[in-house]
């Protein structure tokens, strides 16, 4: 469902003399089959968001090849958009000034979702994520957690085959977090939706992900099950400790080129 083959992305930053190249992602390769549930970990600045942006067609890779749901994301961006749902926990993809309800209506039209199907899906998502209270509120007035719930609903209204979430549990209270995890698990189990998420909350990974990828300095440092991940550092007890060890050990600063 997702194929990433030798993908790299660099940015030129700074002006004139201070100009240098940041390699946000380098030579990254992995494959995700349909129906998998994959969690992506990595320290700040590792290149997780950059990878997600390349998978969704927002950024063009500087090298390598990607395929998502059979499409090259940069070339066939709008076609891919119909098959994929995207959530950025840190920033909304909804219309800032429109009430949530209008945003959803707009999405229905943009994705050509049938009215009946739309009502049913929106009803189910509203119940599950408790959106009722703030359906009429403009997005800019929502709290972070409310907004994230709105964003997740918006990403699922067109029933995408692939769901890509960048820090979806950011800012969620305990109850909402549990509700969201249950919801994602059910979505993956019942509808077979392929899910790829990044997170800094190891609870998400423990509760949800059969497969874990660890990205560090733009390349894949680990790819396997949660147990495999634990086994890499046998003397640490909690998963937090294991991951902290992996982050610090691999954290030798990469030379700017």
């Amino acid at each position: 469902m997702i194929e990433v083959d030798g993908v790299g992305r660099s940015f030129t930053v700074g002006r004139r003399r201070a100009r240098r190249t940041v390699h946000a992602v380098r030579d990254l390769s992995f494959t995700i089959e349909a129906g998998e549930f994959v969690g992506c970990l990595g320290p700040n600045g590792a290149g997780k968001s950059t990878t997600i942006k390349m998978l969704t067609g927002i950024l063009a890779p500087t090298s390598g090849r990607l395929r998502v749901a059979g499409f090259d994301p940069t070339r066939r961006r709008t076609a891919l958009a119909r098959r994929i749902g995207v959530v950025f926990g840190q920033r909304t993809t909804l219309w800032w000034d429109l009430p949530l309800r209008d945003s959803f209506q707009l999405i229905r039209h943009l994705y050509n979702v049938d009215q009946k199907v739309f009502r049913a899906r929106l009803g189910a998502l509203t119940d599950l994520l408790g959106l009722d209270e703030f359906m009429g509120t403009p997005v800019r007035q929502l709290s972070l957690g409310q907004r994230v719930r709105g964003d997740i609903t918006a990403a699922l209204l067109h029933d995408p085959a692939v769901l890509v979430l960048d820090e979806p549990t950011i800012g969620l209270d305990v109850v909402s977090k549990v509700a969201l995890r249950d919801f994602l698990r059910a979505l993956n189990a019942e509808r077979g939706t392929t899910v790829l998420l990044t997170t800094h909350d190891l609870g998400d990974v423990e509760k949800l992900c059969r497969r874990v990828m660890l990205i560090d300095h733009g390349s894949l440092a680990f790819d396997g099950t949660l147990d495999d991940l634990r086994a890499t550092v046998p003397d640490e007890r909690s998963i937090e400790d294991v991951v902290a060890r992996l982050y610090t050990e691999g954290a030798a600063p990469s030379p700017p080129s």
Binding site: I58, T93, L98, L110, Y111
Partner: protein, 265 residues
């Protein structure tokens, strides 16, 4: 193409409905924009208080030039004039949100926050053009050129807006550069080009084809000699100029979107 128009109308309608929730500022802004531009007409009137002709053109003819350019610009601005907001979307990463939707990003940026206040300028231009036409009483054998001329003008201004937008992907901090072209271009075309020097006129004829917005076709409509002695077939070259510029704008836009680099967070 039909899909693009449908998307535009859909988004425009959504924005209109959303803005209708706060009608007060909108009405004020529409009237304000109408009034500000009405001052332009006062300026033309004041000029003709002091002189019988402006570079060889009488008051009704100047109003005709002003009205046609104004209408083309106002329509282009109403439909596609969002280049300066684009740089805001790029800097804040709001452009990301447009890229994940299954419709073109060009339409989405163009229609962003569509509101009735965009109509103020159009109305004013229509009023001026109507006054000019009623006083000129052009025969049909020449007046037929007016609708295609305005359409080509809209395409030319829209293309310049798009080029300005494409430039934003490179110069994230300089929306002014794009504005200099578009708003400067609109100011330039309001008066007979013969008030300007020959060098400038050659520049706006052959480099940035602003002369094809109204000047060249208007010479035909008004049955005038070209004061600069350029060949007369140029009067019918507006569609060609518009098509070439639109093609260039489309290519630049694509190249710009490919260079989009989002934000670090």
């Amino acid at each position: 193409m039909a899909g693009t128009v449908r998307t535009y109308l859909l988004l425009a309608w959504t924005w209109l409905r959303a803005s209708a929730q706060y009608p007060g500022p909108l009405i004020t802004m529409t009237i304000g924009s109408f009034a500000v531009h009405a001052l332009d007409v006062v300026a033309i009137w004041v000029i003709f208080e002091h002189t019988r002709s402006l570079a060889g053109f009488g008051p009704a003819e100047v109003m005709f030039l002003y009205g046609t350019a104004g209408l083309s610009f106002a329509l282009g601005d109403m439909l596609f004039g969002n280049a300066d907001r684009l740089s805001h979307h790029i800097r804040t990463g709001g452009f990301d949100a447009m890229l994940i939707r299954p419709v073109g990003v060009f339409v989405q940026t163009a229609v962003d926050r569509f509101g009735v206040q965009r109509l103020g300028r159009v109305l004013q231009a229509v009023v001026v053009l109507s006054i000019a036409l009623s006083r000129l009483d052009l025969p049909w054998s020449r007046a037929w050129i007016i609708p295609p001329m305005i359409l080509c003008g809209v395409v030319i201004f829209a293309s310049i807006f798009t080029l300005g937008g494409a430039l934003q992907f490179l110069l994230t901090d300089a929306p002014e550069v794009a504005n200099a072209f578009t708003y400067g271009g609109s100011a330039l075309t309001q008066y007979p080009l013969s008030v300007y020097g020959e060098e400038l006129v050659r520049g706006v004829t052959f480099v940035i084809p602003l002369a094809f917005v109204n000047w060249q076709p208007a010479l035909f409509a008004l049955d005038r000699q070209d004061p600069f002695g350029l060949p007369s077939w140029l009067r019918f070259a507006s569609p060609l100029a518009a098509a070439v510029l639109a093609g260039a704008a489309a290519l630049a836009w694509r190249a710009g979107v490919r260079r989009y680099r989002s934000t670090g967070s």
